[in-house]
Symmetry: C2
C-alpha cells in the first residue's frame, strides 16, 4: 500500500502562442499534446492555454512576445526569425542540414541544446525541441524543372532563410501568405509554391493548379520545431514543474514526427491518384543548390560570430552522422525500399 | 505571482529490473534517465530504483517478475521472450521490419501501442516504448561471407527470434552469454557473433579476433526497447503519476536513440583504424534472408492468432512507410551520403 502525503503545489496559468493555424493540425496539435500532458501531470495545477497564430499575437510575433514576457511560451519554427539573426535557422532547418533523427541526436545528446540555450539568452528564451515534420517535399510547380535554366527567373513562394539559396540560383522568391498561395499559383502570378508535405499540401489543393510535385525539399531535410519559454517564467517554476515541462515537450516531440509519418503516406497516394506527377530534383540542381548553400554558410561564418560558433559544431556533427548513416541505416532502408521482392 | 496550494501527493517506491548489464551503458542508462525524470517530476515522492540484469532477477526473468508482481516494472527487449510467444518479437524487431523512426510512428500514432496493450494483458503488463538502438550492424565474422554457401554451416552467436531465419539459411545459431563470446570467437568454437553496433561491439574487442564486420543487421533494423509495468501497480498510480511516467518514458525513448547516434560514428572510425574490414551483405544473401523471413511470418500467421492479428497491421504499416520513405526522406539522405561534394 502507499501512504498519501501532503505537499505544497503551485497553481500556474501560462499562455502558449503558436505560430500556426489550427488547420495545420499536425503541427498545431503538438502544442496541445504538450499542454495536456503538463496539465495531467500536475492534476490541473499547471495549465497552459494554447492559442493559434494570430489569436493573441501575430504568427511571427511570438519571439517578441516571449522575449518581452507578454506570454510565457511559444511553439514555432525557429527559422522564421532569420531576420533577427540567421543563426535561428540552424535550430530548425537549413538547406542540406540534418535530417529529423539527426536533429534529435544533436539537440538531445550532442551540443545542440546547450549551444542554443546560450544563443537564446539574448532573447530571454529557454528553448526545447518540440516536434519535427521529417523531410519535406520540394513543392508544386506549374512546369517541369529539369535544369538550372528552369530555375532562373522562377517565381516561387518559399519561406525565409532558404529563399537565399533560391535567389543564388537565380529564382525570385516570393513572400505570400499561405492562404493566398493557391490563387497566386492558379493565376500564374507565381510559378511554384512550397509548403510542407503531402498531408498539409493536399488541404490547400495545390495539385489542382500545379501538377508537378518535386522531392526532396533539400532546404528542409528535418525541420525541428521549438518550444520557447520566457526565461523569467522558467526560473520561477518549481523544480518538479520544470521536469514535467521538459518531459512533456519530449513526449510532444516524438508524437509530432510519428503523426506526420502516419498521415503522409496515404496523402501522397491520394495526390497521385488525382493526377499529381511526382519528380525527383535532378542531380545538377541538387549539386548547384548544395554549392550555393555551402557558399552562403561560409559567408555567414565570416560575418556572424554566433553563426560561426554554432554552425561549426552542427556541420561537424552532420558529417559524422552522414558517414555513419551510410552503413547500417542506409543499407537497411535501401534494401527495404528498392531491393526486396513483393512477397510478404 | 503564483499562489502556493496544498495538495495531497503520494509516496511511492518502485523497483525497475533491467535485462541489461551496466556495461551496456547506452541501453542501461535509458532506464536511469527515466527514473530520474520521474523522481524530479514528483519532488522525490515517486522513486524508481533501477537494478541491472541479474541483480534482483535474471536478465531474462524480467517478464515473469513483472507478471507476478515481484517487481513493478522492467526495461527490456521484447524479442527476448519469443519463446513465450513469437508475437513478443514484433514489439521490438523482426528481420526486415520497421526502422527506428517507423517503430516510433507505429507505436505512438499507428496501432502498435494499442495492439500490444491488448496482447500484454495476458501477462499483466502495461507497455511503453522506451528507447531504440537504431539499425544494428550485422556482426563479426572470422572469414568473409560472400554467398549463401558461406552461410551454410556457419556457427554464429545470435540471439533469439532471428536465429530462426539463420537456421532456415543453413547456419547453426549458437546461444552463448555475451561475456563468453569473445573467447569462443577467438578459439574458433564459433565462426561469427553479432551484438549491437560499433559502440557496444568495440568494448568486447571482437575486432581483435574476427576482422570482418558486416552490415546491415537486417534482423534488427530498429529494435525498440520496452518499459513493462505491472498492470495492478499501474492501476494503483494516481492520474498525475501516470502522466509523469508516460512522458518520462517518452523522454528516455528520444534520449536513447540520440545517444546511440552520438556514440556510434566515432566508434566505427576507431574500429576501422584498428584494422576492421567493413563489408555490406551481398544482395543474394539479403534476398534469401528476406524470403526466408517472409516464409517464417506466413507460417506464424497460420499457426498463431496473436501473431496474425498484430503482424497484419505491422506489415501493412511497413509497406506504407517504405513506399513513402522512398520520396523525400531517402532522396535527401542519399544525396547527403553519396551525392554531395566535399565543400562545407
Amino acid at each position: 500500500g502507499v501512504a498519501p502525503a501532503v505537499h505544497a503545489q503551485t497553481d500556474i496559468r501560462w499562455r502558449l502562442v503558436s505560430s500556426f493555424p489550427k488547420t495545420l493540425d499536425t503541427i498545431y496539435i503538438a502544442a496541445e499534446v504538450f499542454a495536456k500532458k503538463v496539465a495531467e501531470a500536475t492534476n490541473g495545477r499547471f495549465i497552459i492555454s494554447v492559442h493559434a497564430g494570430g489569436e493573441l499575437v501575430p504568427p511571427l510575433g511570438v519571439v517578441d512576445a516571449v522575449q518581452q514576457g507578454t506570454v510565457e511560451c511559444a511553439h514555432t519554427s525557429p527559422y522564421y526569425f532569420f531576420g533577427k539573426d540567421d543563426t535561428f535557422a540552424i535550430d530548425c532547418a537549413i538547406p542540406f542540414g540534418l535530417n529529423s533523427r539527426q536533429m534529435s541526436a544533436w539537440t538531445y545528446e550532442g551540443n545542440g541544446l546547450q549551444l542554443f540555450r546560450e544563443f537564446y539568452r539574448n532573447y530571454n528564451i529557454v528553448n526545447f525541441a518540440m516536434g519535427n515534420t521529417g523531410a519535406q517535399m520540394g513543392g508544386w510547380y506549374r512546369h517541369e524543372i529539369k535544369t538550372l535554366a528552369d530555375i532562373r527567373g522562377l517565381k516561387i513562394r518559399i519561406g525565409g532563410f532558404s529563399g537565399k539559396v533560391f535567389s543564388a540560383l537565380g529564382a525570385v522568391p516570393q513572400s505570400i501568405p499561405g492562404g493566398e498561395t493557391y490563387q497566386a499559383l492558379e493565376k500564374g502570378v507565381i510559378d511554384a509554391a512550397e509548403w510542407v508535405g503531402p498531408y498539409d499540401d493536399e488541404k490547400f489543393g495545390f495539385y489542382k493548379v500545379a501538377k508537378h510535385y518535386y522531392y526532396p525539399g533539400w532546404w528542409e531535410g528535418g525541420p525541428q520545431l521549438a518550444l520557447y519559454v520566457n526565461a523569467k517564467a522558467w526560473e520561477q517554476l518549481p523544480a518538479d514543474y520544470k521536469a514535467i515541462l521538459t518531459t512533456a515537450a519530449s513526449h510532444a516531440h516524438v508524437h509530432m514526427q510519428a503523426r506526420y509519418d502516419v498521415v503522409n503516406p496515404p496523402a501522397l497516394k491520394r495526390l497521385v491518384a488525382k493526377g499529381t506527377q511526382v519528380h525527383r530534383f535532378s542531380p545538377q540542381i541538387m549539386q548547384a543548390a548544395y554549392d550555393a548553400s555551402m557558399a552562403l554558410y561560409s559567408d555567414l561564418s565570416a560575418k556572424n560570430p554566433a553563426w560561426r560558433k554554432i554552425y561549426a559544431d552542427y556541420a561537424a556533427f552532420r558529417d559524422e552522422q552522414v558517414l555513419w548513416a551510410r552503413f547500417a541505416e542506409a543499407s537497411f532502408d535501401q534494401f527495404m525500399q528498392t531491393g526486396r521482392n513483393k512477397k510478404r
